[in-house]
């Protein structure tokens, strides 16, 4: 177990579109890749009892989250022939319309990249100890729950 390298996935605040663009650009030199799949989670302006969500404040049990993410990453690499996989999740405040999750998978042909991307998002939402606190425009809040 000491050999494993646990990657950090957490970013403070929103994930900037320029960061995503740069991440895509970096794959230009990886010419074995024939298909990329990208998922981006964006904070939605939900209306609850007449109040609108202004932002989500994310917190996590970081050590467990990173350990779990490592396991998921290993499972996914075992299951699909991927060339690479990148995952970033926000911590702290992310306003409506901003990006809070970025999952990026690449393979020689499109299908593994698409399936892996979808599976990573599903597992991340179900298994990682991360919590989102929805902050309304009037500064009241409620805790988000994944269904």
């Amino acid at each position: 177990m000491s050999e494993k390298k646990i990657k950090n996935i957490f970013v403070n605040g929103p994930i900037e579109p320029a960061f995503i663009a740069d991440s895509i650009a970096k794959h230009g030199s990886k010419t074995a890749i024939g298909g990329h799949s990208i998922f981006m989670g964006q904070v939605r302006k939900d209306e609850i009892d007449g109040k609108f969500v202004a932002a989500i404040e994310y917190t996590a049990y970081e050590e467990i989250a990173l350990e779990k993410m490592h396991q998921i990453r290993e499972d996914i690499f075992e299951k699909y022939p991927l060339n690479c996989m990148h995952i970033y999740h926000s911590l702290g405040t992310v306003k409506t319309g901003e990006i809070c999750l970025f999952v990026f998978t690449s393979s020689a042909h499109r299908k593994p990249a698409i399936a892996a991307c979808s599976e990573v998002v599903d597992r991340l939402k179900a298994e990682l100890p991360i919590w989102g606190k929805e902050i309304f425009e009037d500064k009241t809040h409620q805790w988000k729950e994944n269904i």
Partner: protein, 77 residues
């Protein structure tokens, strides 16, 4: 024995991080009983425990100086 309690998400609103000195809490089932008695608000929430950074799936023995995290349902992504 000493147990360190840490809480997350909505549970932080009624259980602060704290160290408790207690006897007679041998396992995680006993801990649940203890914590729900002390914080009845917990009874209405589906929560999971992590003992020393491992998420608990079944009743597990607790040793002295354990850290127990109380975690409500996850909502990442």
């Amino acid at each position: 024995m000493e147990i360190e309690i840490i809480s997350f998400g909505q549970i932080t609103e009624f259980i602060n991080n704290q160290k408790i000195e207690v006897d007679g809490i041998a396992d995680t089932d006993a801990f649940k009983q203890y914590i729900e008695d002390r914080f009845p608000a917990l009874k209405g929430i589906k929560y999971k425990l992590a003992l020393n950074k491992n998420i608990i799936q079944q009743n597990t023995k607790i040793a002295n100086q354990a850290t127990i995290a109380i975690m409500p349902p996850f909502s990442g992504g």
